[in-house]
Structures are given as structure tokens and as C-alpha cells.
């Protein structure tokens, strides 16, 4: 793969964000002196682990650690501390606990630490449940978790559902605050581009925050150049495609959680699972993460041979040389060896799953959907997929991809596929379909609606929206994808003669085996190249508008080549790989700020109503 351009800027060191978060947490814990038990909600466990380990917590008089689950607790401690996201469910759970303690005349101190912030609803619930005075609250402003040198996650997977499905804007301010934090430590940012309603709202709030402390923003060297914000619903196609770049594949198959993955026995070839941190510190991983999967195996075997030859150096060493070898190199080699065998194991496990005929056909179907050929064949493939109950999520993903690439499903198909799906996976998915319709992921073409009619209606809706009459929920109801048109305008489907060269790719399409350039990344490339939206009017019209470009500070203090790519609603590893590729080609350095790392499965799971 292309090597780094010399003129590309350095990445700022984001570890300071971790230190800030840790210091604040310690401060909060010390506000409750004495021994205390800490209850942590499951979603915060992994992020917390990246910030402060158990021994740090113990140092600050945390006695026992519990996972906050919906079941009774057994703690003898007189002080209970809860570390939660600001969700009503958790607050109610704590309220019940406090009340049952009261009923049994148990006197304890309770402290709720909300991360990253408390919402008014939490207070409302505490008040309604009658325990407002019994607990103390704190906010742990832990907005940003650096997952890697260039990835910062807010670890808010619910952002997607809350905003894009429920029309709940509560996290919008949180993202603005997070951006503000990033800006105040590493900024100032000189210019911001964005597309999407949510991006616009975040930007407006962020600008208000900036204006509030404008006076101390002057004369600082900046590590950041530009910001590009994008709403997830601008590009639904990309996350609905199967990922074939190594890191994305690992995420699809093993689920990377907060930057680490748990490889099961089938990978580790022993009887226990191993948790591995996946980031640039892992030398082996760092070299293959952005590679198309077809290249990974040969790379790994090459690597194994190199490793062996380094081991072989031992032969013919005298005692002294051996001593330095053991002292200096052996440990590194062993480490590399361990990682190498893990990744080889992972690859084998992936190969087993992916080389089946099913997968080939799945890829073929996805590619024909993207290209818009052989739609009927694709539909029957999907139908068979559903009938054979291959996987509820996969089936749904294909349905969504079909819908987004085809301006929605025609009524006949929609009805039959939906009925089939319900028969296969259960009627409760009636709600899932209703949710998908609302977000625009899976829609039904209104009868008799041609493309132009849709477009006319769209533009009318856009103007209505300007009058403030249309809600997010409604606008997404009417949201019809214009993928074909956009694809043509931006050249998202590369026309290649012969085989696409995956070993030395020439564009970002390699992350989808040369079939498709992710829309989100292509948009960024175009805007960065054109230094604005001029010339993209047709595209933005098809994308529902809401694009903006705003100068924030006049001086170009920092490098204009460092770009913070902000994904509202999550970003996929494929997009990260694509932009890293673009960065290397064009001499940019991308920093990814996302509400969470996502993929098709995560997005669709969040659309399902949990049975509880």
C-alpha cells in the first residue's frame, strides 16, 4: 500500500484526554470519602477500563466493583456509588434500591455519577420517585475516549437510535461539548464543513460555545485544521455493505468492543478466549488492518517467514551475542510471534466462514445491488436467504441495501418480503419494520410513484422544512434514497476493465473489493478538494441539502491538512480504512471523531425492540 507522504502532518497526542478523564473521576470519587462500593453500568465498563483500572479505583477507596444489572444487589457497604449513562431505566433502578433500603430502615449514602452529563429527565425521575434528596449527583465529563492514535469515540451507540429514530435531540449538545473540548485542547479549528441536519445543529451549538470564550482562543498553535461533520443518514449504503477490509471483517465477525476484541477458542487454538487490544501498538495488526482481506493471508505468511529467520539468527551466535539477543530482541520477537499466531488464527476462522459458496453469492448480490444490475435475481437471493433463516440481521441488512439502492421497494416486493421475514423470524419484527421505515432504511415505494414524482415531493418537503413545519421523524419518513443519481454524479461505482487490483489499489473502492467507493468518504474527498461545496449542488440537492461551510478563525494557525472527520450516528471501520487510504494518497491526516464505531449489524440491532 502507498507509503506516507512526506508533507502529511503529525497527529496530536490524544492520551491527555484519558488523563483528564481519569483525574476528574478520581476527584469525584474522593468527594465521597471512605469505603464505597461502585456499581458500573455494563456499557461503561469497557470505556472505564481504558481510563482507570481496578487498582486505581481501589486506591481511592472503592471496595467492591459490581456490574449494574437489573437484579437485586447484595452489598454491605454504607456508601454506594453508581456510575451510569443518563438513562431513565438506570435511575429508576437506583430509585427502587434506595426505597427498599428505606423500607428496611437501612441508612446508606448514595452517589450517582452520570457520564458524560446529567439530563433534566434524571432529576425529574428522582423527584417523581421521591428520592431526590436521598442521593447526590455528579457529572463525569468523560466525552472523548481515544481508541487509537487517530480514532476518538464518544462511546454513545444509542446516539443513532435516539436521534435518527426517536427524534430525540438530547445528545446533540453533548457532541457540541465534546467538539468544544477537543477544540480547546488541540484547536482552534479554522474551518468546518458539514452535511446533515444534526451536523448543522451540533455546529450551531458548538459555535455558541466558542463565542462564549472567544477571548482566550487567540494566538495558539493549533494541532487541528478542518472539521468535517456528517450525519449517518446521509450515507446509509456504506454501513449496509459487508466489510472486507481486515479490521472491518474482524469487527463484523468477532465484534470489536471499545478497541479490543475477544478471540474465542476457535481462533486461539487453546480452550480459552483471549482479549486483544487492537490498535497501532499491535505491529502486526497495524500493517494489515487496512488491507483487503484477500491480501492479508499472504502478508501474514511472509511475516511468519521473516520472524522465523530472525529466530534463526541465534544459530552461530557466541555467548555475548546471545545475551544481547535475549535481552533486547527476544521479548519483542516473542510478542510479535504471539500476535502473529493470533491473527493467523483469526484469519483461518474468517476464511472458514467466508470461503463458503454462500458468501461468494452474498458478495455477488451486494455488488449487483450496488451496481443496479440483476435486481430480480438479487431479490430471489434475499428471499431464499430469509426462507432458509440464515440470519435475521443479514437478511435485514440485504433488505435495507436493496431498499436504499432502489428508492425503496415496490409494494409487491415489500409486502411479500416483509411477510416472509415475519414468518421466519417472528411477528415482533413488525415493530422493526416500522422503525426501519421511519429512519428511511427500508421503505415502500408509494404506488404509482415514479422517480421524478419522488424528487418533486422531496423538494417540496425540503422547502416545507425550511418553514419549520416538518419534524425530523416526518422528514425521514419521506426520505427516499437517491443512491443511483448520487452514485452517477460522484462516480461511486468504478468502471474497471478486467480485475480490480486489490494489492495496489488506486482508489478507495478497494475497501469493497473495487465495487463501490463509500459515499461518505467520497463526499469528504470532493469537499476537501474543492475547498467547499461549489460544484456539488446537484449532489447535495439529492442528499436533502443541509450542507454548510463555515470559517471559524481567520488565521491558518494549524495545518490545513489535519482533518477531524466527525460521524454523527457512528462510523464503520471500512470508512476509517478508506479515509486513511485517502489521507496517504493526498497527504491529509484524518482524525476520526465518532459517536460510536458501528456496522450494519449494530445499526439494525438498534432498530429492534428488545423484549423486556
Amino acid at each position: 500500500m502507498a507509503s506516507e507522504r512526506i508533507d502529511s502532518p503529525e497527529l496530536p497526542d490524544f492520551t491527555i484526554l484519558k488523563r483528564l478523564a481519569r483525574d476528574q473521576l478520581i476527584y469525584i470519587l474522593e468527594q465521597l470519602p471512605g469505603k464505597k462500593d461502585l456499581f458500573i453500568e455494563p456499557d461503561l465498563m469497557s470505556p472505564l477500563d481504558r481510563i482507570a483500572n481496578v487498582s486505581i479505583l481501589k486506591q481511592h477507596e472503592v471496595d467492591k466493583l459490581y456490574k449494574l444489572e437489573d437484579k437485586p444487589i447484595y452489598s454491605n457497604c454504607d456508601q454506594l456509588c453508581f456510575l451510569i449513562r443518563p438513562r431513565i431505566k438506570h435511575v429508576k433502578f437506583i430509585a427502587n434500591l434506595v426505597r427498599s433500603d428505606k423500607a428496611s430502615a437501612r441508612n446508606r449514602k448514595y452517589k450517582i455519577i452520570f457520564s458524560p452529563q446529567k439530563f433534566y429527565t434524571c432529576d425529574m425521575v428522582l423527584e417523581q420517585e421521591g428520592i431526590f434528596g436521598d442521593v447526590t449527583c455528579d457529572e463525569w465529563s468523560f466525552y472523548l475516549l481515544p481508541l487509537d492514535d487517530d480514532i476518538i469515540s464518544m462511546e454513545l451507540p444509542e446516539f443513532y437510535r435516539d436521534y435518527f429514530l426517536e427524534g430525540d435531540q438530547r445528545w446533540v449538545g453533548t457532541v457540541a461539548k465534546a467538539l468544544h473540548l477537543l477544540n480547546s485542547i488541540f484547536g482552534p479549528v479554522s474551518k468546518t464543513y458539514g452535511i446533515g441536519r444534526c451536523s448543522k445543529m451540533v455546529f450551531d451549538l458548538w459555535r455558541d460555545l466558542l463565542e462564549d470564550d472567544e477571548h482566550d482562543q487567540k494566538d495558539r498553535r493549533s494541532d487541528l485544521g478542518l472539521v468535517f461533520m456528517i450525519d449517518r443518514d446521509v450515507d446509509y449504503v456504506t454501513p449496509m455493505c459487508s466489510q472486507v477490509v481486515y479490521e472491518g471483517l474482524v469487527d463484523d465477525i468477532f465484534r470489536i468492543k471499545c478497541g479490543s476484541v475477544e478471540f474465542g477458542p476457535e481462533v486461539t487454538s487453546c480452550d480459552k478466549s483471549i482479549k486483544v487490544l487492537l490498535n497501532s501498538q499491535d505491529k502486526v495488526f497495524n500493517e494489515i488492518r487496512n488491507e483487503h482481506f484477500s491480501n492479508v493471508f499472504s502478508f501474514l505468511s511472509q511475516k511468519a517467514r521473516n520472524l522465523q529467520s530472525q529466530y534463526d539468527k541465534r544459530q552461530g551466535m557466541d555467548i555475548r551475542q546471545m545475551k544481547t539477543f535475549v535481552a533486547q530482541e527476544l521479548k519483542g520477537l516473542k510478542q510479535e510471534h504471539r500476535l502473529l499466531s493470533l491473527h493467523i488464527g483469526a484469519c483461518e476462522s474468517i476464511m472458514k466462514k467466508k470461503t463458503k459458496q454462500d458468501f461468494q453469492e452474498l458478495m455477488k448480490t451486494e455488488h449487483s445491488l450496488l451496481e443496479g444490475f440483476e435486481i430480480r435475481e438479487s431479490i430471489s437471493f434475499i428471499e431464499e436467504h430469509i426462507n432458509r433463516q440464515v440470519s435475521p440481521i443479514e437478511s435485514l441488512r440485504l433488505l435495507c441495501l436493496l431498499s436504499i439502492t432502489e428508492y425503496g421497494l415496490i409494494t409487491k416486493d415489500y409486502r411479500s418480503l416483509k411477510t416472509q421475514y415475519l414468518q421466519s423470524y417472528g411477528p415482533e419484527h413488525l415493530l422493526t419494520f416500522s422503525n426501519l421505515k421511519r429512519t428511511g432504511l427500508l421503505t415502500e415505494q408509494a404506488p404509482g410513484e415514479t422517480l421524478t414524482a419522488v424528487e418533486n415531493k422531496m423538494s417540496k418537503l425540503v422547502t416545507d422544512k425550511a418553514a419549520g413545519k416538518l419534524t425530523d421523524a416526518f422528514s425521514s419518513l419521506a426520505k427516499k434514497s437517491n443512491f443511483r443519481g448520487i452514485g452517477k454524479k460522484l462516480g461511486l461505482i468504478p468502471r474497471v476493465d478486467g480485475e480490480y487490483d486489490l494489492k495496489t489499489p488506486k482508489d478507495m473502492a478497494y475497501i469493497f473489493s473495487g465495487a463501490y467507493i463509500p459515499l461518505s468518504c467520497k463526499l469528504m474527498e470532493q469537499v476537501l478538494q474543492r475547498k467547499g461545496w461549489t460544484g456539488l449542488e446537484e449532489v447535495t440537492r439529492l442528499l436533502n441539502g443541509n450542507e454548510f461551510a463555515e470559517q471559524l478563525c481567520d488565521r491558518n494557525s494549524g495545518s490545513q491538512r489535519t482533518i477531524v472527520a466527525v460521524f454523527l450516528g457512528g462510523c464503520t471501520f471500512s470508512e476509517i480504512s478508506a479515509l486513511r487510504f485517502l489521507g496517504k494518497e493526498a497527504g491529509y491526516k484524518f482524525i476520526f471523531l465518532t459517536t460510536s464505531i458501528t456496522n450494519g449489524a449494530r445499526m439494525l440491532e438498534s432498530m429492534m425492540e428488545t423484549k423486556s
Partner: protein
């Protein structure tokens, strides 16, 4: 400057000086007769209540600046006032006979009142005193029942009744308030005895070093800092000592017998000298440690105001200040002084005259290495001067002297110039605040600014802030905000006019809170003005609460939504929920979708029933349907209950004209009933399986008939049914049944899946049975599936299909397959040749 010391009066070795501050502007023909007078500390304003006990005609309350300029007046309409006093924050305290205490500001605007209790009301107030501690103002009362009541903080009134003085016949001849560790005590004189009253006890005390023959106390005075106490007895004896009553400082025997009208300490902070001023009708008598006192005759009736560093003497025509001359001033101006400061002052004068003597003087100071002292002294002394000319000449001397000092830091000089400019500005008779440098330093500039604001002297306060280069936040914006708050109270001007005027002046000055100003406007009942002002407030979190307070909830909601702060939206929504009736509340929400979706989120967790009502209100049948479906999986556990919920859903879906959803739900009802029947029959959990899983399990359980029935009842597509059945049979490894099924009719999915499914369960023998029936185009695939490369190659060659041949080739790995490879290659070349 020969006459400079003309107004100096020596008392022992200490000099005192009395100078005019102002010719009074006021017109008091009758002097202070029939008047209650009170002057505030730190050059405060003067309150006068004329005819305060005149029966005919109402008393008039007037408030003057220290220069006698009338600030405000009102006819007094309340009860009989016994005592007037000022608080530290320049509010006027009027203590009435009936125990009511009324508080007014300097513009005679009533602020508040409180009562000292029914006991005081019953017995009436005989005498009262207002006293100050560092941060608060208190009052002490002597009631008609001869009991003392003390409230040590009038901002937070807690009354304390002090114990009675035993065998008391008449009121004490005199009394005062002392402090012991911040707790106020009362010292009262009854005949020759003195009593100290604290919270619990009444103790008879004697003053140390006072002769028992000294007589009964007629008057007593505590110093400004409550450190010293002075007592005047009917033998003309004056005792001066500490207020802790532990030490005597000095005593003085005068030949005066009559009780003085007023007594006040005249001391300078930091000085070890003490002096007490006693005032009679025509005389002020100053006594101290020296054997002789100093007499200051008075032309007209006056009153004295104790200050931190001296006393103010106010009469109907003048306002004078009497204080001890500071050491530096004395050193410089004492006749024939050779102190460095004095020499420097001389040197500078000679220099101005272009005389060489200047050099002589300078040399003399420099020889003694005193030049920097001299400069410092001149600077310091300038601060003690009242007249600008004297200040100037001293500063000129300092400025001259500092040129000859190496590395002199001008900070002190600059500060002194700044301070003096400010003091001179406020000394002007139109402002009338005769603060001395010592008082000013104690008071601090912040408090001075507050006082100017209180006097509504906004322009001057602004000028001072600008002059001192205060940050906007500390200075200008604070004052402008006060100005604006005052402005909104001007009833005669229109809302628009005021809002505009305020915005014009304030603009976007940093630190201005428009919401505070609006809040004031709202308090004055000017809601419209408040709303106009709020438009300028950039912070929504400040706008919204006030709008709610003014009951403009719709506007508040709009602002909250605009702000993007969901917490604010919830604040308004909660408010509306409590204030509005349900119908209106829902209507409002419908008009604000952002608020609606937020509230829905809340209801989902906290009030599910409300959620239903919301959908009902909106006739949103689709969502209602979804709601019922959701609850059929949620709270409801019994099958009948779930069916009932689903039936509701069907109804709603029908109303919403969503046939598909209605049908799917109806199917689900049917399925649930079937599942329950099954569960009862076979004692195996069937509930909550999907249709597919239900049929699949039926086949696994061998209930083929039932499965067939469901297949028909639910119109399961053939393809699905075939897939389902062969998968289930294979899982069950019921190969016989599978074969039977394959022959029952023509397969809807072809026969390749049969091969696949057998292979999935590693049954090659069974798989092979079906190969023959697999369609020609898929036969190669089938052979490959069972691993029969030979056959696969055969049929690929037969078909002459290159793609198929390649597929076979790709499977050939081991050496044993070489023959096959060759065969295919041969066939391929054959095709090519053709």
C-alpha cells in the same frame, strides 16, 4: 506655606486639625431642633426627620448628601419614630415606638419592614441604637418595661431578650453596645453602678482604675472599631479604657458637670494616641492623655459623626472634619522640621524658583541616604491632604525627588495619583462623599462603586471603571446592568423606548445579563418590556425560566427548542404539564414536534399510558397499533392478555389502513392460539416461536399432519416450506421421510438443496440418491458437494462449460486428482480448437 499649620491644635505632643469639607447646601433655619438626625458611616448620607414628635402636621423625612444636597424626601405617614440609623449598605433604619422597624433606601423608597415582637409593641420602644459589626448591622432596643432586646443582624432578624437589671426603677442614665467575641453585649449605667448584660446574665462591673468617688456615668461612647470605651460621670470625670473593660488607658478630670450631648472617639488607625471628643451646645472639647484638652467653640448647634480616622462635625451651615495629624504630615509641615520629606518639599520649591538652594537641600537628604524615604513620605502625606493644591505640591515634590533615586518603582506614586483623582472627584459637593484616604482604603474601590451605583451616579462610576481600566466583567458591565435595572423602573417611558435605550448602551458588552434586567422589569410588572429585553439575551438557559415565570410558556418552549438544549425543553414541558389541562398540553406538544418526541421518550419509560393518550390525541393509529404490539410482548404475560392486546393492535392497524400489519397481527393471534394448544398437548414450549420455527419444531416432533395444516392455514410459500421441511428432516436424520417427501411431488426448490442438506449432516450415501434428480445446470455443483470430482469433471466436460470446468479444477489439490486435471485440460483445449 507659612500658615499651613494654622489649623493645627496641639494636645500634648499630638497635633489635631479641623478643616471644612463643605458649606452646607441645605437650608435649616431651625438647626436640628425637633429633629432626628442620622449620618451614615464612611462619609455616608444624612437623614433628617423634622417635627418628628410634633402633634400637628406630619413629620418629613429628608435625606441629604454629606454636602447637604437634598437627595429625596417624603412626608412620614407611619408611626412615631424613636431612632434613625444607617446600615452598612446605606439603607435607612427607622425604628418606631411600636417596635416596627422600617427600611428605606437613600431615595426614600420603602424596602421592607419587620416587627420586634408583641412584647416590644406592648411596652413600646424607649430608646434604640443601631450598631455595626464588620459585615452586618444590628439594633438594640430599650423597652418601656426597661428591658433590652438585641437583634444582631437586621437582614436575618433573631431577637434576643437580655436579662433584667435587678431593682431597676427608671431607665438607665446611659447605655451602649459592646462586643465580646462578636456577641453584642449591653453596658448600662444605673446611678453609680454599671451593669454588663449578656445573653444569660446581668453582671455588675466596675471600670478598672476608676475611683469609687468618680460619680455616676452620664454618657458613654464606644470607638468606631469597638475597641475603646469612654465614660463621662457627673463629677466631670472621664474614664477612657478598653471596651473589654480590662484596662484603663487614661483618665481626665474636667470642670464640666453637665452631660455632653454627644461623645465620640477621635483616633487614627495605627496611631497609639487616643482622643475623645465631647460635644455640648456651643463647644467641642477634645481630651486625651495630655493634661490639657483642646476647646473648639461651636457657632451653631451641631452633631458629630464618628468615623474610622476622626470625626465629622455637621452643623446647619458647615461640614467639618476633625482628625489627628498623621506622623508623616507632622514631620513634613512642623515648623522648622528637618525631616527628609520637609527638605524635599523645600528643595522642589526652590527648584521651581530656579534657585540653587534646591541642590543644597537635595544634597542634604542624599547625604543622609534618606531620599527614597523622603519621596515615600511625600507621597503618603499627599494622601492625607484634603485640598488638591496641597496634594499637588506634595506629589510634585515626590515626583521631583524620585528622579534622583535609582531604580525607583513608580507604582506607589501612580496609585496615589489615581486614588487622589478618584477621591477628589467624589469630594465634589455635587457628589458629596468626603471620604478620606484611610476610609477609602478600608472601604475598597468595589464598595465605593457600589455606593455610587446606589446613588445612581452611573456616569461617574463608569468613568472610574474606565479610568482604573477594570475589565468589563468587573466594572463597566456591572454598572451598566445596574443602570438598566434602574431604567426599567422609569414608568413614564414606553417599553420600546426603554428596551432600545438599554440595548443601545449595553450592546453586547461582556458579562451583561439581559435576563437579570428583564427579571427586574418583570418585578416592576412590565412583562412586555421584560420580553423585549429577553430578546437580547444570548443565553437561552437564562431566557427560559423567566419566560415561564411570566407565564409565556409557548414562547419559552420555542426558545428552548431553538437553543437545542433538551434539558431546557424538558423544563418547559414539565411546567406545561403541571399548568395546562391535558388537552391543551397535548395540543401544544403536537405543534412542537421536537418537544413531542422528547416527551414521548420520557413517557416510554415513565408513563406508558400517557404515551397511548398522546397517540390517541393525534389519531396516530399506526403508532397505537405498534404500541399494542409492543405491550403484547412486554408487560402482558398471559396468552389471553396478549391476544387482547394484539386484537387492539389489529383494530388500530385497520383504522390506519395498514392491511399488511393488520394481517400479520391477525396471523400472530392465530399462531399464538395454535402454539398454546400445542404447548398444552406436547408439553414443550412452543410460545414465541416464529411461524417458521413452529412448523420446523412440529416436523422435528413428527407431527407432520399438524405441520401440513399450518402450512396451508398460513399460506406458507412452497419454497419456504420445502426448505424448512428438508432441513428439519435432515436434522432429525429421518432419511426415509426425506426420501418420501422428495417423491411426494415436484420439488419447489429443485433437488440441489437435498444434496446440500444431506452433506451438511455428512450423509454422502443419502446425498448421492438425489444427484440424479438435480437439474443439468446444477449437476456439477452437486457432484462437487458430495466430493465426486470424477463425476463432476465428466458432467462439466459433457456440458462443455468452461466455467464449470474451472470450478472443478479449483478443487483439484492432491496428486491423486492429476488424471482429472489432465482430462479437463484436454477437454478445454478441445473446446478451444473448435
Amino acid at each position: 506655606m507659612d500658615f499651613y499649620t494654622a489649623n493645627w491644635y496641639p494636645m500634648g505632643s499630638v497635633y489635631y486639625r479641623k478643616f471644612d469639607c463643605y458649606r452646607m447646601e441645605w437650608d435649616l433655619r431651625d438647626g436640628f431642633r425637633e429633629c432626628l438626625v442620622a449620618a451614615g458611616p464612611y462619609a455616608g448620607t444624612v437623614a433628617l426627620m423634622r417635627n418628628y414628635c410634633a402633634k400637628p402636621g406630619r413629620p418629613i423625612l429628608e435625606i441629604y448628601s454629606a454636602a447637604g444636597v437634598l437627595l429625596s424626601s417624603i412626608p412620614w405617614k407611619s408611626g412615631q419614630v424613636v431612632h434613625l440609623g444607617w446600615t452598612l449598605t446605606q439603607d435607612l433604619v427607622c425604628i418606631q415606638e411600636d417596635g416596627t422597624v422600617l427600611i428605606y433606601d437613600i431615595f426614600c423608597a420603602f424596602k421592607r419592614h419587620f416587627s420586634l415582637g408583641s412584647e416590644v409593641k406592648q411596652n413600646q420602644v424607649l430608646e434604640a441604637k443601631v450598631f455595626h459589626t464588620e459585615y452586618r448591622t444590628g439594633i438594640a432596643i430599650l423597652t418601656g418595661a426597661l428591658k433590652f432586646t438585641v437583634a444582631s443582624n437586621i437582614d436575618d432578624v433573631k431577637l434576643r431578650r437580655l436579662p433584667e437589671i435587678p431593682a431597676l426603677r427608671g431607665p438607665p442614665t446611659c447605655w451602649t453596645v459592646l462586643f465580646n467575641d462578636r456577641v453584642p453585649l449591653v453596658l448600662a449605667a444605673v446611678g453609680p453602678d454599671l451593669y454588663l448584660l449578656d445573653n444569660t446574665s446581668c453582671t455588675a462591673v466596675t471600670l478598672p482604675g476608676m475611683s469609687p468617688l468618680a460619680g455616676s456615668a452620664l454618657q458613654m461612647a464606644v470607638s468606631f472599631n469597638y475597641k475603646y470605651l469612654a465614660v463621662f460621670t457627673d463629677t466631670g470625670y472621664i474614664w477612657m479604657g478598653t471596651a473589654s473593660l480590662t484596662d484603663k488607658l487614661c483618665e481626665f478630670s474636667s470642670d464640666l458637670r453637665q452631660a455632653p450631648k454627644q461623645m465620640a472617639w477621635c483616633i487614627r488607625p495605627g496611631s497609639r494616641n487616643i482622643a475623645l471628643a465631647l460635644m455640648w451646645e456651643k463647644l467641642i472639647f477634645l481630651v486625651g492623655r495630655a493634661r490639657e484638652g483642646v476647646h473648639f467653640p461651636l457657632d451653631e448647634p451641631s452633631f458629630i459623626v464618628p468615623e474610622l480616622d476622626g470625626i465629622r462635625i455637621v452643623s446647619s451651615s458647615t461640614h467639618e472634619f476633625l482628625h489627628e495629624i498623621p506622623k508623616v504630615t507632622e514631620d513634613i509641615f512642623k515648623i522648622a522640621s528637618m525631616a527628609p520629606g520637609a527638605l524635599l518639599l523645600e528643595a522642589q520649591k526652590e527648584y521651581e524658583k530656579e534657585s540653587q538652594k534646591a541642590d543644597d537641600y537635595l544634597r542634604e537628604i542624599k547625604d543622609q541616604n534618606h531620599l527614597s524615604d523622603a519621596v515615600e513620605n511625600c507621597i503618603e502625606a499627599a494622601g492625607y491632604e484634603h485640598a488638591p493644591e496641597m496634594q499637588k505640591s506634595l506629589l510634585r515634590a515626590a515626583s521631583f525627588g524620585k528622579c534622583f533615586v535609582e531604580k525607583y518603582s513608580p507604582a506607589d506614586f501612580v496609585t496615589m495619583c489615581q486614588d487622589l483623582r478618584i477621591l477628589n472627584a467624589i469630594h465634589d459637593y455635587q457628589i458629596g462623599i468626603p471620604l478620606t484616604m484611610t476610609q477609602y482604603k478600608q472601604l475598597t474601590i468595589q464598595v465605593l462603586l457600589d455606593r455610587l451605583v446606589l446613588r445612581r451616579l452611573y456616569p461617574l462610576a463608569l468613568k472610574i471603571c474606565e479610568y482604573l481600566k477594570f475589565s468589563d466583567f468587573q466594572g463597566v458591565s456591572r454598572i451598566l446592568a445596574h443602570w438598566a435595572c434602574y431604567k426599567v423602573q422609569q414608568k413614564e417611558k414606553s417599553d420600546d423606548e426603554i428596551a432600545q435605550a438599554i440595548n443601545q448602551k449595553l450592546g453586547d458588552t461582556l458579562g451583561i445579563s439581559y435576563s437579570e434586567i428583564a427579571s427586574r422589569a418583570c418585578e416592576c410588572g412590565r412583562t412586555e418590556l421584560a420580553i423585549k429585553l429577553l430578546e437580547y439575551e444570548p443565553k437561552s438557559e437564562d431566557q427560559v425560566p423567566l419566560l415561564l415565570k411570566m407565564k409565556r410558556s409557548n414562547l419559552a418552549l420555542a426558545k428552548a427548542i431553538e437553543s437545542g438544549d433538551t434539558d431546557l425543553v424538558y423544563t418547559v414541558v414539565t411546567y406545561m404539564k403541571n399548568e395546562f389541562n391535558r388537552g391543551d398540553f397535548f395540543m401544544t406538544l403536537q405543534n412542537h414536534p421536537v418537544a413531542l418526541s422528547l416527551y414521548r421518550q420520557f413517557c416510554k419509560h415513565q408513563e406508558p399510558e400517557t404515551l397511548k393518550d398522546l397517540y390517541n390525541q393525534d389519531d396516530n393509529h399506526l403508532e397505537l397499533g405498534n404500541f399494542y404490539v409492543r405491550s403484547s410482548y412486554g408487560a402482558e404475560k398471559r396468552v389471553e392478555g396478549r391476544v387482547a392486546e394484539l386484537q387492539n393492535a389489529v383494530e388500530e392497524y385497520n383504522k390506519a389502513k395498514s392491511e399488511l400489519a393488520a394481517r400479520a397481527t391477525e396471523d400472530q393471534i392465530k399462531l399464538l392460539r395454535n402454539q398454546r394448544a400445542l404447548q398444552d398437548k406436547v408439553d414443550k414450549p412452543y410460545l414465541d416461536f416464529s411461524l417458521h420455527d413452529t412448523v420446523y419444531n412440529l416436523i422435528l416432533d413428527g407431527m407432520h399432519k399438524k405441520a401440513e395444516q399450518l402450512y396451508k392455514e398460513f399460506k406458507i410459500p412452497d419454497k419456504r416450506y420445502w426448505w424448512l421441511k428438508i432441513s428439519a428432516l435432515a436434522e432429525k436424520e429421518d432419511w426415509e421421510e426425506l426420501e418420501k417427501f422428495s417423491k411426494s411431488k415436484k420439488s419447489a426448490i429443485g433437488y440441489l438443496p437435498f444434496v446440500e442438506i444431506c452433506m451438511k449432516h455428512q450423509n454422502k450415501v443419502e446425498a448421492k440418491k438425489y444427484i440424479a434428480r438435480v437439474g443439468i445446470e446444477q449437476r456439477v455443483k452437486a457432484f462437487l458437494l458430495v466430493g465426486d470430482l470424477d463425476q463432476a469433471a465428466e458432467s462439466a466436460i459433457e456440458h462443455r462449460n468452461e466455467q464449470e470446468m474451472n470450478m472443478v479444477l479449483s478443487r483439484c489439490a492432491s496428486a491423486a486428482d492429476n488424471t482429472i486435471v489432465e482430462k479437463i485440460n484436454r477437454a478445454k483445449s478441445l473446446i478451444l480448437k473448435k
